[in-house]
């Protein structure tokens, strides 16, 4: 028991190292890439954040350089992150480095929305907890410019071919951390998802999640609805994002296309107050029906719920104490 615990991390590392060169093998046969890179990406995401950061921020748009067939974008990026440790990858890596140099100029700039300091909104206290000095930059990654690389361009162009007023529908495309996000105008969402599901070249059959995000600092786009779509046929994943103002939090429902979104939309409504027009029965799903407010919004009080126990009180974290 005692000696097994410290032994664990090294074991994990060896496994990871053993797995790493996988994308090289994958690259040599670009026809049949689909299943492995996804696994690889998942493992990478859970193990080393440094790698991901590198891969995503600088190298994601490089993939335009190597858009062969059905190649998975993540497979392209991986060998580059290996270069420091495994010198086996040579020609690929140098090509990527050249691309990186090109990219440096074209890299999209992130939009800084807000800079948050400290924790729980506590200000002006000599906080000794270590959280007082936290600085969190709330930023949106900048828009990507086509060509994106790999199947991303195929999807993008296919959507363009299907929808005539394309630029009105897809407002922005963001590629961040090896994932693609389409920002969609809300009035076209229902129409777009129907194409995404039914078109033979797209086939995003599965809507794996609908969720919400609240950005109080994003004026007139405070609430975002986020849709994760997966294509079982092509093993691709994309993300759609719809932003609406707090004063008019309406998004058309996608339940008609993706029946699985039913409860997801109810939860998003319950937690964020986004109203999904056309949903068959939009009621609260987690909280009681008569609950006031939407708990996952940033302006919802943090704690401070009255406890009916012999006069005990628990102040919310932002009022707790100043040291």
């Amino acid at each position: 028991m005692t000696d097994s615990t410290p032994r664990k991390p090294p074991r994990k590392r060896t496994r990871k190292q053993a797995k790493r060169p996988e994308p090289e093998n994958v690259r040599s046969e670009p026809e049949d890439v689909s299943p492995e890179p996804v696994e690889e990406r998942d493992e990478g995401a859970s193990t080393s954040s440094a790698d991901i950061h590198q891969e995503s921020d600088e190298k994601a748009p490089i993939k335009g350089a190597v858009p062969e067939g059905e190649s998975e974008p993540d497979a392209e990026t991986k060998p580059e992150s290996i270069t420091e440790e495994a010198p086996a990858v040579s020609s690929e890596a140098t090509a990527a480095e050249e691309d990186e140099a090109q990219l440096a100029a074209a890299e999209p700039t992130a939009e800084v929305l807000q800079v948050r300091k400290g924790m729980f909104g506590v200000k002006g206290s000599g906080d000794t907890s270590g959280y007082g000095g936290l600085t969190r930059v709330v930023e949106f990654p900048g828009a990507a410019i086509p060509p994106f690389g790999g199947w991303w361009d195929q999807v993008y162009e296919r959507i363009g071919a299907l929808i005539h007023n394309f630029s009105d529908v897809i407002i922005k495309v963001v590629i961040y951390r090896g994932e693609i996000t389409f920002h969609v105008a809300r009035q076209h969402l229902a129409e777009l998802v129907r194409y995404l599901r039914d078109d033979a070249h797209l086939r995003f059959e599965f809507c794996s999640s609908v969720s919400g995000v609240h950005y109080p600092a994003d004026k007139d786009h405070e609430l975002h609805g986020v849709y994760h779509l997966q294509s079982m046929t092509y093993n691709r994943r994309i993300r759609l994002e719809v932003s609406v103002p707090d004063s008019d939090p309406h998004i058309p429902s996608v339940v008609a296309t993706y029946p699985t979104a039913d409860w997801h939309e109810r939860e998003t409504y319950d937690m964020f107050g986004i109203i999904f027009d056309g949903h068959p029965a939009l009621t609260r799903i987690l909280m009681p029906d008569d609950w006031p407010g939407y708990p996952q919004r940033k302006d919802y009080p943090l704690g401070g719920i009255p406890v009916e126990y012999k006069g005990a009180t628990i102040p919310p974290p932002d009022q707790r104490r100043s040291y």
Binding site: L286, W291, G303, I305, V307, E308, Y309, G311, A312
Partner: protein, 184 residues
């Protein structure tokens, strides 16, 4: 006519009450209501190490119809509260509730929108057991305190009177949320 005429008044009833209480306290049928980490301690309580079989509780009933004690082991979420109440309603009388752990008693560390701040918002609680989570020994102790309470539960007309008195006390007492400075 019978025995009761020869005894001083009340003696026989008291004795029956005693016997009743003794029997009841020795025959608890807990319902399985594990909600969180406290449930692990509750399972240990039923397992050989702490062996609640020593006082006849090793069989946790999966059906509320066969149970008369609900050990609420863990935090009760807003979503779970109606379910908990329904299970309580399905249990036949007489029945008892033991709020195990600080979360079931007061919400504990989960002072937020998702968790009911004390299971006594939903069902009447007979015994509060603090701890996060309480050790099985503490559950044993709470159980014996509850047994003691059950042991001295009145029956018949006395039970009705006791219930009325308890209700009167509750009506006169300030609401829990108005009580101040009692927390030591």
């Amino acid at each position: 006519m019978g025995l009761e005429e020869k005894l001083p008044s009340g003696v026989l009833l008291t004795t029956v009450e005693n016997l009743f209480g003794y029997m009841r306290s020795a025959a608890f049928w807990p319902a399985t209501f594990g909600l969180a980490c406290c449930a692990i301690e509750m399972m240990t309580y039923g397992a050989p190490r702490y062996d609640s079989g020593r006082w006849g509780q090793e069989v946790f009933r999966a059906s509320p119809r066969q149970a008369d004690l609900m050990i609420v082991a863990g935090r009760v979420s807003q979503k779970m509260a109606p379910v908990l109440r329904q299970i309580y309603d399905q249990m036949p009388n007489p029945k008892w509730v033991l709020a195990m752990g600080v979360c079931a008693s007061t919400g504990g560390m989960f002072n937020n929108y998702a968790i009911v701040q004390g299971v006594d918002h939903v069902v009447p609680v007979d015994m509060y057991l603090p701890g996060c989570p309480p050790r099985p020994e503490m559950l044993v102790d709470a159980m014996f305190k509850l047994r003691d309470k059950v042991r001295h539960t009145p029956i018949g007309i006395d039970a009705i009177e006791a219930a009325q008195q308890a209700e009167q006390r509750q009506l006169e007492a300030p609401a829990l949320i108005e009580q101040k400075g009692l927390l030591r």
